[in-house]
């Protein structure tokens, strides 16, 4: 009997491991390169330095804000963008707003970022943060942030959560639901 239990336990554990591996592999497969040149002059992009941007982290209007730091050159960021888009469309009427903060290089706004926004038909608000003195503002966003992206902040009034990691849609939704309840 004990033996059977052990075998079952081992099967479960190996099963879990395989599952984890598969998820990881899927994650690695996605890479999007967007080089398409197209007319994106109608994409309006708000560009902020950190002082200008800070207000997006400190709103106190009972709304849940999901602030995602990303860039078109960051493959894991691009991979999770659809989840943020989905969240935005499904939770917009539940008082949730997604803001995508691009850390793309300013000289590539026209040739990379704007065409990307247009091609992906991004519905969430996209703003650009351009402030070279990163050591001064990264700790202000969150003291634990090492500076790698993707990184995400979810907040409502004074309650905040910071994530320096990639999300699945389910994981993202679960975190937002904590703030809804």
């Amino acid at each position: 009997m004990k033996l059977k239990l052990l075998i079952v336990a081992i099967l479960i554990i190996t099963g879990c491991k395989h599952e984890k591996k598969r998820v990881a592999d899927n994650h690695d497969m996605t890479k999007h390169e967007v080089n398409d040149k197209m007319n994106s002059s109608d994409v309006v992009l708000e560009v902020y330095n950190y002082n200008g941007f800070e207000k997006f982290l400190n709103k106190k209007d009972d709304k849940i804000y999901v602030i995602n730091f990303w860039a078109t050159w960051c493959a894991p960021c691009v991979k999770e963008l659809p989840y943020f888009e989905k969240l935005n469309s499904q939770y917009r009427d539940k008082n949730v707003e997604v803001i995508l903060v691009s850390l793309d290089f300013p000289h590539l706004y026209e040739s990379k970022l704007k065409p990307f926004i247009k091609k992906r038909k991004l519905k969430s608000k996209v703003i650009a943060l351009d402030d070279v003195d990163m050591n001064s503002w990264i700790p202000k966003v969150n003291k634990d942030w090492s500076g790698s992206i993707p990184a995400t902040i979810i907040y409502k009034n004074d309650s905040k959560k910071f994530f320096e990691k990639s999300f699945t849609y389910e994981g993202l939704e679960a975190e937002v639901k904590h703030f809804l309840n």
Binding site: L3, D28, M134, S146, G147
Partner: protein, 207 residues
Amino acid sequence: MKKTVRIILVAFIALFVSAFAMHEKNTIKDGYKIGDVAEDFSLKNIDGKMVSLSDYKDAKGFIVIFTCNTCPYAVMYEDRIMALNEKYASKGYPVIAIMPNNTDAKPGDNMEAMKTRAKSKGFTFPYLIDKEQKVYPKYGATKTPHVFLLQKADGGNVVKYIGAIDDNYKDASAVKTKYVEHAVDALLAGKEVKQTETKAIGCAIKA
């Protein structure tokens, strides 16, 4: 029968440990802090030879930089990394560059690509590959580029600075504070490093 149980038990423990190890690999928050002694390593260089910190008998320390070919930030800093080595290798602080990414996921960072990049740029420092991806988690490197300045002491190589190269990735000529240079200069002068940690945006290391 007893033997079977024992074998299964051993297998069970091994699985448990490996699952735990995998978990460890995914969380790299617990890297070196300022003042910690960094473990030595043996990693393959682009010339095919293995390189360890202990090979450098005359060094006073090391500017260890986790960097790669494929990250635009790392590329923007290549010339400045070369300049650091030119300035400080002769003073006892050579640059040791380590490429930490999983090359299955990022083929642009594989050994062949590293060789090509080093040759076209004329790297004068070792460009090592962390093929097993066991060194960068020990350091707690999370992104490229990510600098760890080490000072040789009796007990080993002590971490003296962690972070960015300087405060302007975009324009080397507009830099206000050269974090790494200030830190190395302080060590060379026998002083304490004033700014021991800085933050910068970088490309997440691909596990």
